[in-house]
Symmetry: C2
Subunit: 338 residues, 2 copies
């Protein structure tokens, strides 16, 4: 099977490679007649330009990279959806890499990306990452980078996040206004700025409503879910006065729900729960849990758009702006009360 490339097309049409190339790229310096001839044969033979030759020549790959901790997570899955949508609209391809929150793996991936394989990078850093030299080094190769969700404060570039501080504030206030006086806060311990912001929103909301923050009511969860269930059980037993729980992570909200059921604490009469969530699980429980939901799809889409705009303009250095998208608070009540 003879290869279908510019050369073979040119031979069959009795013209030069250059003319065929120009015709296919719709150059204005080629007659309409030949354009038609070239295109006819190209589509007939199902010609598709070799992406690598083109990339090599133009030093531009029409490909962006996405580096995220995981994909089996509704937030990131939705974000990828948004990214792919924006990329496709601009004719870009999407390479995906998973770090599994492993620092060494993240470094290895980022190093690999220096080979000019991508025109731009979208990234959500691994939770364990504290040293950002690898990212800075990548940025120095003039590769545009946009962070989303788990941003990296030490690297100056565009970032797309949600209003974590305000969400924490609103979630906590929601519980307070519903009558809660002893609101616990569950979060996963790590050095991500996200958790810190939500935590601060929680603290400020308490203060603003005349409640005294109690460190004993703040539970730092771990990675293992079984352990978290035990920690939550312990907390609820130690502090029977808890009448509201704000969970920074969906799993912790669900676990709280189960522990409450197990301990016979009625929801929401005895304990009201609100949690960050991008999954529908919380809404399906009986009674359903109220949630703060991040606009994951929009975050991915917006981040990709900003990146692609920079790529198209060959702007390697992005302004270190922070785009903040609003989360939505869904208040859910049991429908069984009718």
């Amino acid at each position: 099977m003879t290869p279908v490339n510019l050369k073979s097309l040119a031979e069959q049409l009795n013209m030069s490679i250059a003319t065929v190339s120009r015709a296919l790229r719709d150059s204005h310096e080629v007659s309409d007649a030949t354009k038609a001839r070239v295109r006819a044969l190209a589509t007939a033979l199902n010609y598709e330009p070799n992406a690598y030759a083109s990339s090599l020549r133009r030093n531009l790959s029409k490909t962006i990279g996405v580096v995220i901790p995981k994909v089996a997570n509704h937030f990131f899955a939705l974000a990828i959806n948004g990214i792919e949508e924006a990329a496709r609209q601009s004719g870009y391809h999407v390479l995906i890499y998973l770090t599994h929150d492993d620092y060494a793996r993240e470094v290895s991936i980022v190093q690999h990306l220096k080979g000019g394989r991508i025109d731009g990078l979208l990234m959500s850093v691994a939770s364990g990452t504290e040293d950002f030299a690898h990212i800075k080094s990548l940025q120095e190769t003039n590769l545009p980078i946009v962070f989303f969700d788990r941003v990296c404060a030490e690297v100056a570039t565009a970032k797309v996040t949600t209003n974590d501080y305000e969400s924490g504030y609103r979630a906590t206030e929601h519980l307070i206004l519903a009558g809660c006086r002893h609101v616990a806060h569950l979060l996963i311990s790590n050095n991500l700025s996200i958790g810190q912001f939500r935590q601060q929103g929680y603290l400020d909301a308490l203060q603003a409503h005349g409640l005294t923050p109690d460190p004993d009511l703040v539970l730092h969860g771990v990675m293992d879910n079984e352990q978290n269930v035990a920690l939550i059980r312990e907390l609820l037993l130690r502090r029977p006065d808890i009448d509201g729980v704000f969970a920074s992570v969906e799993r912790l909200a669900i676990s709280t729900y189960h522990v409450c059921k197990e301990l016979g604490r009625r929801i929401p009469e005895d304990v009201k729960i609100i949690g960050f969530s991008n999954l529908e699980a919380a809404a399906l429980l009986d009674p359903p849990l109220s949630t703060i939901t991040q606009p994951a799809y929009e975050i991915g889409r917006e981040a990709a758009k900003i990146l692609l705009r920079a790529v198209e303009k060959k702007k390697a250095v992005l302004p270190a702006q922070s785009i903040v998208l609003e989360s939505t608070l869904f208040e859910r009540r049991s429908t069984a009360s009718e």
Copy 2:
């Protein structure tokens, strides 16, 4: 900033480009001394080979493509996870494309892929796809293809699926053995072989246990969820004798759960429900629903491994074998009965 490539390295080391290239690729025909010198400079300057130049020259991109209907779906998200894992282990990159179950989009993507951008393709076809000419045409470019989950019978190549027939059979039998006599089957209407297999398993299980299949008990759902809820409500009202429901799709199982609650049918006393599911939602309901769960991660991983093996051996044509992985039946009972 001077570019870091073989040429610049060679100049600084006073040797030829070829030697540098060989040293970096650890060729056995280069002295250890020069290898050391080359590597030292390469790492010092953070050299990374240009992926496109290499791909063009070797006609091999170390990249595989993944074409799936959507990613915001736990099954596909887990599958991608498995694919990325296998790819990474073999040093491959992963390009991702979403069809959103749109035939035109699938065709456009597949056409794009003919440019030699990928060394192999993993694919789950769009639900609306009936004409497979675009896929066959891609296969004719000697690109190895492996289907997973939503396979395409008309194209002869390797396929990785779950035991849909058997799963349908086991799910139905599970309900029958639990005492159900009037088992309904809910599925999404389309021309995918998957639904057909599950349906056949359902029918055969009924027959095997002396029950007569009743076409009135088979509900063909649609894409819109609101409509499905209405259809299910209508079915349960029309047929109060229904005491078991087998849902081929998670959403239908969840919807059935809600309709039962709304109509005052107790679960599982009045109606037992079992559904295909890859999400934890079904397990979180109260009472939890029993599920048939596909090994999504393993499917992705296995499919990728088969594909990569073919790619490495430059075997364009894969044996038209079908790998079938076992689903798991989770029987869940309410824990509140204690």
